[in-house]
């Protein structure tokens, strides 16, 4: 090997490579069979602790989500803290939050796939899965919010006995359509790269798992033609889903921006919300990756500090972009001098919710900037978990400031009243528990790491020796 100028990174040859290259997943290959077995093992391994957490989450969902929701449906929205003028509260905060979470999953996966970023390979699935499960929570939050949820199907355009079509002038209708589109598109986008891994799992399973994987792997056998069609479809979807993702969160922002409310009627809300969504979403990917890495078997091989380092860098850029949009959204109304917007900005920074507003800035700007500039810290998974949680708290607060806090200031000063959430809190906890439960169960049902993508990437990477330096080159396999 040393006699030639080139040394191809073959499985098993990894030990001879210098340490700094060894830490990259793409340059640390393992045999296919071994890697498949590692992923299969991670899906099969469950402990008492795992089932304990599942039961705990299921009970939380039973009481905090289903129980409280049933009570709310039976009693009416009066059991919430909503009132005049906060007709929208934490349910809408949660909805925007979950849609934000769901955005980054697909964004990271699609954008990095399109741009052929090799680092994406082990974590695209984890991010895409977050999208699908996040959207489920967002949909639940919409239903939680409706006064007569049992009539929610009236929002669906279909020929009906009421002889009436939904009102397409309403931003809520656009929102409903956009989210539906996004659910369908992102689920398909999650499913397509999953097919080869499901086929892999099918060939290594018995019993009920065999039946399940046989059904959902759609008879994929790995023929060249199958790969060709699959890759073409994935490429189309990866491109198509990026504008869909931008439009969906812009439409979500229009729920607010299209209104006449001071503080809401803003032309910058579209991009501001998109960036906000990415900010919370990328942070959520860091949390999810940390959980996968630290709780699932064999995952330390696939999810490495280099991935946290990359996401941390991305998060820092997005945090700066968010700060720019926040500043812009603040400066323009402040300079404009509209009476009610002045009152609102003053209420944000000096009112009883000022501590919330300040913590938003600390969580979204100060803490990320103080930590993410340092490469060593970015490579520390637990620290990135902390940053991820902090950013998500900050972004939840951002939506809280935009929705119930801003709603406090109306043009009719005698209606001003503070928002005191009540049943919204257990319901919010319930949606978080449902997200975690779905993720937990999915982690044992589908391969959380796209094994074929990792294998493809590893086979495309070659380390050459040029003089005394080791040079990595990547051949284009897409």
């Amino acid at each position: 090997m040393a006699t030639t100028a080139e040394s191809i990174a073959m499985p098993g040859a990894s030990a001879k490579k210098p340490k700094d290259l060894h830490e990259h997943l793409m340059l640390d290959p393992r045999p296919r069979g071994e890697m498949n077995a590692m992923v299969m093992e991670s899906m099969h391994t469950t402990s008492k602790k795992f089932w304990g957490v599942v039961v705990f989450l299921a009970l939380t969902i039973l009481f905090a989500l289903l129980g409280a929701w049933g009570y709310m449906i039976a009693e009416g929205m009066g059991v919430t803290g909503l009132t005049r003028p906060e007709y929208w509260g934490i349910f809408i905060v949660d909805m925007v939050f979950w849609i934000g979470i769901s955005h980054a999953g697909t964004f990271i996966s699609a954008l990095l796939r399109v741009m052929k970023y090799e680092i994406r390979r082990p974590f695209t699935r984890a991010a895409e899965l977050m999208t699908t499960f996040g959207l489920i929570q967002a949909a639940i939050c919409i239903f939680l919010h409706l006064g007569r949820v049992w009539l929610a199907y009236w929002l669906v355009p279909y020929p009906n006995g009421r002889a009436i079509w939904p009102n397409f002038h309403s931003p809520l209708m656009w929102d409903f359509m956009a989210i539906t589109t996004y659910v369908i598109a992102s689920t398909m986008y999650l499913f397509m790269p999953l097919i080869p891994d499901l086929a892999m799992a099918r060939d290594r399973s018995t019993g009920w798992r065999l039946g399940l994987y046989r059904l959902i792997s759609l008879g994929f056998t790995g023929k060249a033609a199958e790969w060709k069609f699959l890759k073409t479809a994935m490429n189309i979807f990866a491109f198509a889903i990026i504008p869909v993702m931008f439009s969906v969160h812009t439409v979500v922002s229009w729920d607010f921006a299209m209104s006449t409310r001071p503080g809401w009627n803003s032309t910058i809300f579209g991009p501001y919300f998109v960036i906000g969504a990415l900010h919370s979403g990328i942070a959520a990917v860091m949390i999810v990756l940390f959980m996968i890495r630290s709780t699932m078997k064999n995952m330390k091989y696939f999810i490495r500090p280099e991935h946290f380092e990359f996401l941390g860098k991305l998060s820092l850029i997005i945090s700066m972009a968010w700060a720019y949009f926040f500043f812009n959204d603040y400066l323009v109304p402040w300079y404009g001098g509209n009476k009610f917007e002045q009152l609102l900005l003053d209420f944000h920074s000096h009112g009883p919710f000022a501590w919330v507003w300040v913590s938003m800035l600390i969580c979204n700007i100060l803490i990320p900037w103080m930590i993410l500039w340092n490469k060593k810290w970015r490579k520390t998974p637990w620290l990135m978990l902390v940053v991820g949680i902090v950013i998500n708290i900050g972004m939840w607060i951002e939506r809280f400031v935009i929705i119930p806090v801003s709603l406090t200031i109306t043009r009719m000063p005698f209606t001003w009243r503070l928002y005191h959430p009540s049943i919204e809190i257990p319901l919010t906890i319930g949606t978080f528990a449902l997200f975690m439960l779905l993720y937990l169960l999915a982690s044992r049902l589908i391969p959380l790491v796209p094994v074929w993508e990792v294998q493809e990437g590893q086979s495309a990477h070659i380390v050459r020796k040029v003089g005394k330096a080791m040079v990595t080159s990547v051949s284009n396999v897409d």
Binding site: E75, G76, M77, G78, G81, L82, T83, R84, P85, Y87, W88, H145, L146, G147, R148, V149, L151, A152, W154, L155, R162, I164, W165, P166, N167, H169, S170, P171, L172, M173, F176, D255, M258, S259, T260, R261, L407, T410, R411, M412, F414, T415, R417, H420
Partner: protein, 243 residues
Amino acid sequence: MSGAKSKNTPSKWGMVIDQDLCTGCQACVAACVMENNISSIGEQDVSVGRSMQWIHTERFWTGQYPDVSTIFQPILCQQCGNAPCETTCPVYASVHSDSEQINLQIYNRCVGTRYCANNCPYQVRVFNWRDWPRPVPWNNQLNPDVTVRRRGVMEKCMFCIQRIRRAELTAQSEGRQVRDGEVEPACVQACPAYAIVFGRLDDPASQVSQLVKNGRAYRMLEELDTQPKVYYLTGDSNHGHNG
């Protein structure tokens, strides 16, 4: 024949409230509650700001002590010609009546998104946060012409549309036009000071049209171009002249 309404032409109903005459007695509020089957919601919900009145009177102080005077402003749905609430409803529960030029709320269609109430600059929409009890004998007081709303539904003033429709149908059956002053919403009927006047704004001879020409007339938040059909005549116009 003033205030005439021919069979098929749309009319434009409007209201003028003279704040000089308003004493803040709240008779309009009580009358509205009774006419429109508005729920009595109890202390608990009132204390958190969920009062259901479709018309409520606000009190404003002007001047410095001891030279102060009080102005009352009854606030109800302003029946915008260009209503922010209407476009927001995804299920067409909030619609514009072409024939009466009123913002209607169709309770049976409402699914309770509460977007309309957010977008109402006057904050005059009220939501049924619960099903409040209507114990015997209150049920006997219900107005059969008005739908009783259940929890989860938005509601608001519609200028007593049931009274407008009744007057229109009566006039039609008698082969005549609706006379000016023939339609009186409950608040107008109950006002002891005659501070509230109701009629057709598209009839130049009607009392409301005459009052709108009064130099004291203004509309709330006119800068938003919602084109309300409720005009106010400024209060305190004689401040300093009556001791």
